[in-house]
Amino acid sequence: MIQYETVIGLEVHVELKTRSKIFCHSTTAFGGEPNAHVCPGCLGLPGALPVINKSVVEYAIRAALALNFQIASFTKFDRKNYFYPDMAKNYQISQYDLPIAEHGYLNIELNGKTKKIGITRLHIEEDTGKQVHQGSITTTPFSLVDYNRSGVPLIEIVSEPDLRSPEEAYEYLNKLKAIILYTGVSDCKMEEGSLRCDANVSVRPAGSTKLGTKTEIKNMNSFKALQKALTYEIERQIEVLEEGGRIFQETRTWDEEKGITISMRSKEQAHDYRYMPDPDLVPLVIDREWVEEIRRSLPELPDDRKERYVREYGLPAYDAMVLTNTRELADYFEACVAAYPNPKTVSNWVMGDLSRLLNASGVDITNCSIKPRQLSELLQLIDKGTISGKIAKTVFEEMFASGKAAETIVKEKGLVQISDEGAITAIVEEVIANNQKSVDDYRAGKDKALGFLVGQVMKASKGKANPALVNKLLKERL
């Protein structure tokens, strides 16, 4: 069988979180009554003229700089003409031949290797309205249209066909999202549609330099869906080729329930958008000083921050990558380290117990009830020997649930570690007396038996005995 190579390029749409829409003063607020956030501009009423929102251009440049793009000095808007009810004007204002930014890239990491992924272009456009369907979409003869989203600013980011697997595509989208979130220009919520992703997929015999015929996959509404849809589509294409068939250039939609991609080929002729410069909008000449000003205002981005964590804190690369994936988590981590200067210990708690509790409860790190100072207090209690590491985990969960200080919980629940030799000796002797078999096993050379005995002592002390002391006292008496 021939070996195939996969070639993937992603087109990502990101909604910019400006207050007002791109070409009119309607609000961009998500939700709201259908058609309550509209004005003559975004409804395309005759006579209404578009004027570009300056913040949209600023945010686009901000995102583009963070993605290593070159910013155009001259850029303009074009009309993309098509008849579809999601745009009231029958055209979408976008950018065609002179986008605001070209030649960007980002680095992804997979299996410990860094790979540079080229990004062809970033352009500005307006979002479309939303269609809803009553009953089944296949049988209803009507579409209901809500224009609240029509005119919300978008940037479209088109990658080079540099991705070679669904995993690489996943990592690319994850990194893109992380970087955009750092810049603060979008909240990148896939479930609310403020981050959307389409994929161009093709396969070719390994070693070939000619691209195979591609299909475009739409409607992947989560990171998981992206990976599943790509995996499916690659297998489908290979199967078609293996059976002597050929791939048609077409748009396919991902059906999440069935787990397959379905052809959306319509009776209409090939797309012909007849792009033309929008005569209602004047061109933009981008001031270099403005670009530099925006560049200076960028925060430290994930790659730089990650490198610094390895360099300054001596953290493993993996820890550094996880901690810097969002700006909020990285800020939290740094605040903890400022209060408790042992980065690796803090990292273990943040990546382990804290992340687990946050995920399970769906709470965001910014709303976390355990503040960095409180985490540092808990860690100090362990260092002082007031509580054991094991008890600390119980205290931590209680802190997370109640927002109380570690010390308060330890006092209220009587969790102070028992480090009194006399008290522990009493328990140790009792355990030895009641577990003759394990004692004999240990004495016969079965080291494992010690672990069981330690466990019994810890249990009898309700986890409060100092484990190091338990070990020492047990060994002395065996």
Binding site: S26, C39, L45, F83, H133, V145, S266, P277
Partner: protein
């Protein structure tokens, strides 16, 4: 050179229904227009910058401020059909 096939294609894209007589007329008219552009092609444009816009204007921005929205009844006043507060249109797939 524009053919009748081109005219059919453009008419389809613009959702226009045309008769065979109109097809012939538009083909001739469009070719006349293209011919006129042929004479423009003879102009020396060596020192003329390409332009995307005819007026000497650039960088017209608005500030990011939210203004009034249309009252729902006004927003929906011109729609041929509605369902609750939605525009109701034939489904296009």
């Amino acid at each position: 050179m524009i053919t009748e096939k081109d005219v059919d294609h453009v008419a389809l894209l613009a959702r226009l229904e045309i008769t065979s007589k109109e097809r012939e007329m538009y083909t001739n008219q469009l070719n006349d227009i293209l011919e006129y552009f042929q004479s423009l092609q003879r102009l020396d444009t060596e020192n003329v910058q390409p332009t995307a816009y005819v007026l000497p204007l650039k960088n017209v921005y608005r500030e990011d401020q939210v203004g009034d929205h249309l009252p729902l009844e006004e927003a929906l006043a011109n729609c041929p059909d509605r369902e609750e507060n939605y525009f109701k249109v034939p489904k296009i797939v």
